[in-house]
């Protein structure tokens, strides 16, 4: 009796998005997120005790966005736990190491799995990390970009060391997630979802949360069943 709850927040001034970081161990997921949230790389003065869960507040076009970034264990033996991590997430950043062909293959596997489990509801962004090691590149730019386009994901080259492309990854993904959530909202209101009526629905729907600062916020729910 697994219950998958879908977390949809709409019509609120602050949008809450859950973003999972996926990728093989050693591709630099942690450095990426640390650079993004703390603007630090291999620094002694990192204030956070851990880099596995971080919040980042953004302002995109006057709209406030709150990203919860969930790091995932990249070791192969934890691969089967993926679904527990990425359920209910709005976006995923798939990280690979440009010097490591295998890690790119892993990204492909992840994409396949995510699309199978969550369909088009999840926004994807592929990050080719470690471009400071361009000399020993093993994944061709063309191949990576073509693949990303074919699965409807954005591809960005990043380097945590040189602080390149990091903001771009998260900003691109955030914009995409906003777009998707706007679309979903529009769809819901057109199908006649009303916000103030007391829900008298059946048992199919579970655990939907609406956070809104506006008086008559549109509250939407979605029956979530992704397994």
């Amino acid at each position: 009796l697994k219950s998958y709850r879908v977390f949809v927040i709409m019509g609120s001034r602050t949008r809450q998005f859950k973003v999972v970081l996926l990728g093989e161990g050693c591709v630099g997921k942690t450095s990426l997120v640390l650079r993004y949230c703390e603007d630090k790389f291999n620094d002694k003065h990192i204030t956070t005790l851990q880099a596995s869960f971080l919040n980042k507040k953004l302002n995109i076009g006057g709209k406030r966005v709150n990203l919860s970034i969930w790091d995932t264990a990249g070791q192969e033996r934890f691969h089967a736990l993926g679904p527990i991590y990425y359920r209910d997430s709005n976006g995923a950043i798939l990280v690979y190491d440009i010097t490591d062909e295998d890690s790119f293959q892993k990204v492909k596997n992840w994409v396949k799995e995510l699309r199978k489990m969550l369909g088009q509801d999840i926004c994807l962004c592929i990050a080719g990390n470690k471009i400071d090691l361009e000399k020993s590149r093993h994944v061709s730019v063309q191949e990576a970009e073509e693949y990303a386009a074919s699965v409807g994901a954005k591809h960005v080259h990043t380097s945590a060391k040189l602080n390149k492309g990091i903001d771009d990854v998260f900003l691109t993904l955030s914009k995409k997630m906003m777009q998707v959530s706007d679309e979903q909202e529009a769809q819901k209101s057109s199908t006649g979802g009303s916000s103030t009526s007391v829900p008298g629905r059946g048992n199919s729907r579970r655990g939907v949360v609406v956070i809104s600062n506006e008086e008559a916020a549109a509250s939407e729910q979605k029956s979530g069943c992704c397994s």
Binding site: S3, T30, I46, F53, S68, W70, R77, Y85, I211
Partner: protein
């Protein structure tokens, strides 16, 4: 000596000081943790005392509510004397009442009025409904929750407080009247209620003064805490479900995996360092404590506290000072859970999933740690894709041998050595020292004995030699007679008379 050490290895448990076993009252009997460290007699006294205190407080609340109601009817200003001066929130609340008289207090009345006036008697909302003489037996926790909840809503502004109370009461009645529902239906009801309340808090005019999200979340948290504490016994580890079987399965599985070390899991937890092992102990305590909490949010707090301690442990185990990533965190958490073997693990997780306000388990830090706990448990449970020989980089044969407890003892004790706590390690070191000291004393004793023998032999030898020498040289020591040659002659008068001088004339 070695045999002894390995025996005590296997019997390794929690060390409890003798004094901690005694009743906290110091009456000389043994205490029990179930009775918060008191002996049965002292605990009974304290418990009834607490019950009475609580009952008094409840009665006070009840009395107060009745008074309010009476005043309402009489349209008289309330006499000052009935307001408990110790409680400022009551006073505040009271003042507000005086200013804005109107249609209100009905909610309070209904909530506080004794069950005789009640049309539907709900055993779950029995707190203030029944007079003390025929009150339904309620657990200490339920009473506490009710008291906390009343304290909380009393601090509210009037219409909001009334509204929340009314809604909660209605919901409790509904739950009771649907007692036969399955656990999932109950879960749906609770989730629906959260949803309705969240929407109500946002849109209803009664709550228009609560514009901040934090305020609303606080109200929601209190509602959740109140309701869940009350229905906990009915819905936690319910016998309609297979929760209990699953709990036992996980527990047995973890017990069979007792031999796993941090190194096997690649967990960065170096328990040989005292500080790290302290953090690990804290984490273990926190995750075990989860079972003792009732409200889902309190259980989640325990998970978060456990995780924070895990991160602390990782940070002090890592050679470099980089913050712990998920790659470090998950294996360490798995290791902690294996070492803790928390009670009713599955039931707790399912209970949180079913009845927590989704806001707590879908977003935010608590949600992340809870998700990781789910991951860890799923990894431990799953023999095919989770914890097995290959994920520990062992061969199937080795894994099987470990599972059957057939691994050679030398390796076992060596492995165990690493996970012992500092105190035990010191003890074993001291034991070893004592053993070697013992050996040395023995050797010393032996040597002393040998030396003694040597000395004896030597003296004998000397004696022999002397005798031999004596025999060879054969000096006949005569008696003293030889030294007094003329003694006898003297006595006998046999001596010739002394020679007289004579003059020689020639």
């Amino acid at each position: 000596m070695e045999r002894n050490a390995s025996q005590s290895n296997s019997r390794r448990g929690i060390h409890v000081d003798q004094s901690e076993l005694m009743c906290k009252n110091g009456c000389g009997f043994y205490g029990n943790s179930q009775w918060q460290g008191y002996c049965s007699k002292c605990w009974r006294d304290i418990y009834t005392q607490n019950q009475q205190k609580l009952q008094q407080q409840i009665d006070l609340d009840h009395e107060y509510a009745m008074k309010l109601q009476k005043e309402e009817d009489n349209q008289h200003p309330p006499p000052e004397s009935i307001i408990p001066s110790s409680n400022p929130s009551f006073k505040q609340f009271e003042d507000k009442r005086v200013h804005t008289k109107g249609f209100r207090g009905r909610g309070f009345k209904k909530f506080f009025s004794p069950s005789s006036e009640q049309t539907t008697v709900s055993p779950l909302v029995a707190k203030t409904k029944s007079p003390p003489t025929r009150k339904r037996q309620q657990s200490f926790e339920s009473k506490r929750a009710s008291k906390d909840f009343v304290d909380f809503i009393v601090a509210f502004q009037e219409p909001a407080a009334k509204d929340v109370l009314k809604k909660c009461k209605e919901f409790m009645d509904k739950l009771v009247s649907n007692k036969e529902n399955s656990i999932d239906e109950k879960s749906d009801m609770v989730q629906d209620f959260y949803q309705v309340m969240a929407e109500r808090l946002m849109s209803h005019p009664n709550f228009k003064s609560y514009t901040y999200e934090e305020d609303r979340n606080k109200i929601m948290d209190n509602i959740e805490k109140f309701i869940m504490t009350r229905i906990y016994r009915d819905v936690f580890c319910n016998d309609q479900t297979d929760d209990e079987i699953e709990d036992l399965k996980v527990q047995t599985r973890i017990r069979n995996l007792h031999w796993i070390t941090a190194a096997m899991l690649d967990a960065n937890v170096d328990t040989s360092k005292p500080f790290v092992s302290e953090c690990a102990d804290k984490a273990i305590t926190a995750i075990i404590e989860m079972d003792s909490k009732r409200a889902p949010q309190d259980k989640l707090t325990c998970v978060t506290r456990c995780s924070k301690s895990v991160f602390e442990a990782i940070r002090h185990s890592k050679p470099d000072d980089t913050p712990a990533s998920a790659d470090d965190y998950l294996p360490a958490l798995i290791y902690i859970i294996l070492k803790a073997n928390p009670p009713l693990l599955k039931s707790n997780i399912r209970y949180i999933t079913r009845f927590s306000n989704p806001i707590h388990i879908m977003s935010g830090e608590d949600a992340y740690y809870f998700t990781n706990l789910c991951c860890a448990v799923s990894f431990i449970e799953n023999e095919e894709t989770g914890l097995n020989a290959s994920s520990l980089s062992l061969t199937e044969i080795e894994f099987g041998a470990y599972m059957r407890g057939e691994m050679p003892t030398s390796e076992k004790s060596e492995l165990k050595e690493r996970e012992l706590c500092a105190g035990l390690q010191l003890m074993y070191k001291n034991l070893n020292d004592l053993a070697s000291l013992h050996e040395r004393t023995d050797r010393l004793f032996d040597e002393a004995m040998q030396m003694k023998k040597g000395i004896q032999r030597h003296s004998l030898h000397v004696k022999e030699q002397v005798e031999k020498m004596l025999d060879e040289t054969a000096i006949d020591i005569r008696s003293r007679s030889s030294s007094a040659l003329d003694e006898d002659l003297f006595d006998a008068g046999l001596l010739p008379p002394p020679l007289l001088p004579t003059v020689a004339h020639r």
